[in-house]
C-alpha cells in the first residue's frame, strides 16, 4: 500500500466544485476522481464546458473565491493535501511541484517584459536564485527548447505563436516541477508547429522525467502523447483507462459518440455519426446520468441515478449502467462495425 502511494504523484478524490453566481449555480465538477502515477502522461479529454480546465485550476489551487466553491473532495499532490494549504504555502508548491502551461500563448505572457526576465521571475521566486543567476539559467532553458539564447532580451510580440508556446513551456519547466499541467498547449497553433511543440514536449519529458497532465479535446494528440486517458463529460469522468482500453475497447456511449464524430482519414467515405443534441448546461444538469438526453442506449435507471464507476478490467473504469450486470460490450462503434463487415 505504501509503495502504491509513493508511485502516485497526484490523487484527486471525489472533487466537487461549484461556481455560485447571483442567479444560478454552475456545477462545474461533480465528483472527479483521477489518479496520476509518477512519470506518466495523462490525457484529460472532453468538450467545452466538461470541466477540464476547472480540474487543472483546482490542482493549482487557483479556483477563484468567493464564486468558486470547493464543495467536497481532496487533492493530494506528492503527499501534500493541496486544498488545505493557505496562500503562502501554496505559492511554494506552485512552480516547484506543479506548474501549468496555458492554452493561449498570446495572452499569457507579459507584453512589457522580455522573455528572459519572465522565465527568470519564477526561478528567483521559487529557487531563490539571485537575478543574475536566474537570467543565465533562463538563457539555458531557452536553448533547451530550441530558441537561441540571444533572443532572451526580445519581447513577446517579437515571437511567433509557436515560439511563444515554447517560451511558456520553458517557464513551466524552469523550476523542474514534478507535475506539468498542459491546458490545450497546441490548440492555438498550426499543425506543423503543433507537431514541433509536441515533439519538444516528448523530448523534455524524457530528459526531465516530468509527469504530464495533458488537457485536450483532440484524440489524435492523446493517441500520440498519453499513457492513460480520462474522458470527462459534465464535470465527471465518465470513462478512464489505458490507450488500448479507450481506443480499442471503448465502453461509454459518449466516448463512442466522440469517436464516431471524427472524420476517419483512412476511410473518407465513412459517414460521421454525430451525437445528437448539445452539451449539457452545467447550471441545469439532468437527474441521473448527465449524458442520458443524448444517449442511444438509455434505460429507466439512467434517468434516475448517476451510475458509479464500474470496472470492466483492472485499468478500465466506466460510469454507465450498461455494464451493471454484464461485461459484454453492446456499443456499435462505426469503425468496429465497418471492420466486421470487411469494409
Amino acid at each position: 500500500m505504501k509503495n502504491h502511494d509513493q508511485e502516485l504523484l497526484l490523487n484527486i478524490e471525489n472533487l466537487h466544485i461549484h461556481f455560485v453566481l447571483k442567479k444560478e449555480t454552475v456545477k462545474a465538477l461533480n465528483g472527479v476522481d483521477i489518479k496520476v502515477a509518477r512519470g506518466k502522461t495523462i490525457g484529460l479529454v472532453g468538450e467545452t464546458g466538461a470541466g477540464k480546465t476547472t480540474t487543472a485550476l483546482a490542482i493549482m489551487n487557483m479556483i477563484q473565491k468567493p464564486q468558486g466553491r470547493i464543495i467536497d473532495g481532496k487533492i493530494t499532490l506528492d503527499g501534500i493535501d493541496i486544498l488545505s494549504k493557505n496562500r503562502m504555502e501554496i505559492e511554494s508548491i506552485r512552480g516547484n511541484l506543479v506548474s501549468m502551461i496555458f492554452q493561449d500563448p498570446m495572452s499569457s505572457l507579459n507584453p512589457v517584459l522580455n522573455v528572459g526576465e519572465q522565465i527568470a521571475e519564477g526561478l528567483v521566486l521559487h529557487k531563490h536564485m539571485d537575478r543574475k543567476e536566474a537570467l543565465v539559467e533562463a538563457g539555458e532553458l531557452l536553448e533547451k527548447i530550441g530558441i537561441p539564447r540571444s533572443r532572451a532580451c526580445d519581447y513577446p510580440h517579437q515571437f511567433s505563436g509557436g515560439m511563444r508556446q515554447r517560451v511558456l513551456i520553458a517557464m513551466g519547466l524552469a523550476c523542474n516541477p514534478k507535475l506539468l499541467i498542459a491546458d490545450e498547449p497546441t490548440t492555438a497553433l498550426d499543425v506543423t508547429i503543433q507537431a514541433q511543440v509536441l515533439q519538444l514536449m516528448r523530448e523534455l519529458k524524457a530528459n526531465f522525467n516530468t509527469t504530464i497532465f495533458m488537457i485536450t479535446h483532440d484524440f489524435g494528440i492523446v493517441a500520440e502523447m498519453c499513457d492513460e486517458v480520462y474522458v470527462m463529460y459534465a464535470g465527471t469522468v465518465i470513462e478512464r483507462g489505458t490507450l488500448t482500453d479507450i481506443f480499442d475497447h471503448t465502453r461509454h456511449p459518449y466516448t463512442e459518440g466522440l469517436f464516431n464524430s471524427l472524420p476517419d482519414i483512412e476511410h473518407r467515405n465513412r459517414e460521421l455519426i454525430p451525437i445528437h443534441g448539445r452539451t449539457v448546461d452545467p447550471t441545469n444538469l439532468p437527474a441521473g446520468c448527465p449524458f442520458w438526453p443524448r444517449c442511444n442506449y438509455i434505460c429507466d435507471k439512467c434517468r434516475q441515478d448517476m451510475p458509479p464507476e464500474i470496472l470492466v478490467s483492472d485499468t478500465h473504469g466506466v460510469k454507465c449502467w450498461l455494464y451493471e450486470n454484464t461485461s459484454e460490450n453492446p456499443l456499435m462503434r462505426r469503425d468496429y462495425v465497418a471492420e466486421e463487415n470487411n469494409d
Binding site: 467545452t48 515560439m163 499543425v191 515533439q199 493517441a223 471524427l262 472524420p263 454525430p274 448539445r278 452539451t279
Partner: protein
C-alpha cells in the same frame, strides 16, 4: 473556353495588400476551376491566404489582378449593383458564429433580412413560412425563432449562419472554416448538414479549413496553399494517397491520427512560415524544405499538371 459544367473559374488571381514594409502577397497567381456540384477544399496554415482567396472570389476584397469567371461570365469588374444580384448566387459562411450575427436581432429577423433581399416573397407570412422551412433544413428547433444569438451555443449559431446563406438560394457557397470553432460532436452535426444540403440543392462549395481530416471528409478535390500560392492540387483520394510536394507531405504527417494502430513516422519540418511581404522569386517553401537545392533558391517552380489532374509546384517533380 469554359464548358457548361464549370461553375467557377479563377485565372491568375492576385491580391496584394499595401503594408508599411512593402507589398503583402496574400494571394499570388492562383488559378483553378470548380465543377458544378463538387466541393473544392482549400487547406493551409494561418497566413497562407486561404481566407483572402475566398473573399476575393466573392469580391468582398477587390482583386489586384486576374479573372473570376462565374457561370461563364467574367465578374472581376462588374459594378456594385450587378454584384449585389450575383451575391444571391454566391454566398459565404463565416468562421466565427459568435461575431457574425447581430446580437440585437432575433434569429427569425436575421434570416428574414436575407429573405427580404431576395425579393422573391410577397409578404411577411410567406417569408415566415420560409424561415421555418430553412430552420428545419439546418436542424434548428422552431421554438428558437424568437431567440437571440446570446441564447444559442456555437453549433446553433453556425446553423443560423448556414440558414442565412441558404435563404438566398445560392448555387455556390464559400465556407470559411465553418467548423473550427466547434466541439467535435457538434462539428460532425454541421458537416453532415453541409453534405446533405449540397446533395439536396446541388450546391458547389469552396471549403476553407486548416483541418485535414475535415477537408478529407467533405471535399472532392483539394488545393494546398502556402504563402499565397497553390502548391499542390488534386482529387482528394489522389492527394492523400500520393502527396508529392514536401509541404503537403509534412502537413499530412503532422496530423495527429486518433488511432493507436499504424502509427506513421513523423516528418517534422523545421522553422516557421516566412513573411509574405515582398517574397523573393524563389520557391516559397525552400527555407523549410529538406530537399531544397540551388535551383529552388533561384527559380520559382510553376504549378505543373502531371496528367491526371494532379498538379504540383515543385522543382523536384517530373525529373
Amino acid at each position: 473556353m469554359t464548358d457548361h459544367n464549370t461553375i467557377l473559374q479563377v485565372r491568375n488571381l492576385k491580391k496584394y495588400f499595401k503594408v508599411g514594409a512593402g507589398l503583402l502577397h496574400a494571394v499570388d497567381d492562383v488559378s483553378f476551376s470548380i465543377e458544378r456540384g463538387t466541393t473544392l477544399g482549400i487547406v493551409g496554415e494561418s497566413g497562407c491566404g486561404k481566407s483572402t482567396l475566398g473573399r476575393t472570389i466573392l469580391r468582398l476584397v477587390e482583386p489586384t489582378s486576374g479573372d473570376i469567371i462565374f457561370e461563364g461570365k467574367n465578374i472581376t469588374h462588374v459594378n456594385r449593383r450587378a454584384m449585389k444580384q450575383l451575391r444571391k448566387e454566391m454566398q459565404l459562411i463565416f468562421q466565427d458564429p459568435f461575431s457574425s450575427l447581430n446580437p440585437r436581432i432575433s434569429i427569425s429577423c436575421a434570416i428574414d433580412e436575407a429573405l427580404v433581399l431576395t425579393g422573391r416573397y410577397k409578404d411577411a407570412d410567406e417569408r415566415f413560412a420560409k424561415i421555418l422551412d430553412l430552420m428545419g433544413s439546418v436542424g434548428l428547433d422552431e421554438r428558437l425563432a424568437n431567440a437571440y444569438p446570446h441564447e444559442l451555443d456555437g453549433g446553433c449559431r453556425q446553423r443560423v449562419g448556414i440558414a442565412r446563406a441558404l435563404a438566398m438560394e445560392p448555387k455556390f457557397i464559400v465556407c470559411d472554416e465553418p467548423v473550427s470553432a466547434l466541439d467535435v460532436s457538434i462539428q460532425a452535426q454541421i458537416l453532415n448538414i453541409l453534405r446533405q444540403l449540397k446533395k439536396d440543392h446541388n450546391l458547389t462549395y469552396i471549403f476553407i479549413t486548416h483541418d485535414l481530416s475535415v477537408v478529407n471528409y467533405i471535399s472532392d478535390a483539394i488545393a494546398v496553399m502556402y504563402l499565397g500560392r497553390v502548391i499542390e492540387m488534386a482529387k482528394t483520394e489522389e492527394l492523400f494517397a500520393n502527396p508529392l510536394h514536401p509541404y503537403t507531405n509534412a502537413l499530412l504527417s503532422a496530423l495527429p491520427i486518433p488511432s493507436i494502430h499504424n502509427r506513421k513516422e513523423r516528418i517534422l519540418i523545421r522553422g516557421e512560415i516566412t513573411s509574405p511581404i515582398n517574397p523573393k522569386p524563389c520557391c516559397r517553401f525552400a527555407q523549410r524544405c529538406d530537399y531544397c537545392t540551388q535551383e529552388c533558391l533561384e527559380k520559382e517552380p510553376p504549378l505543373v499538371d502531371l496528367g491526371n489532374g494532379h498538379m504540383v509546384a515543385c522543382n523536384r517533380v517530373g525529373k
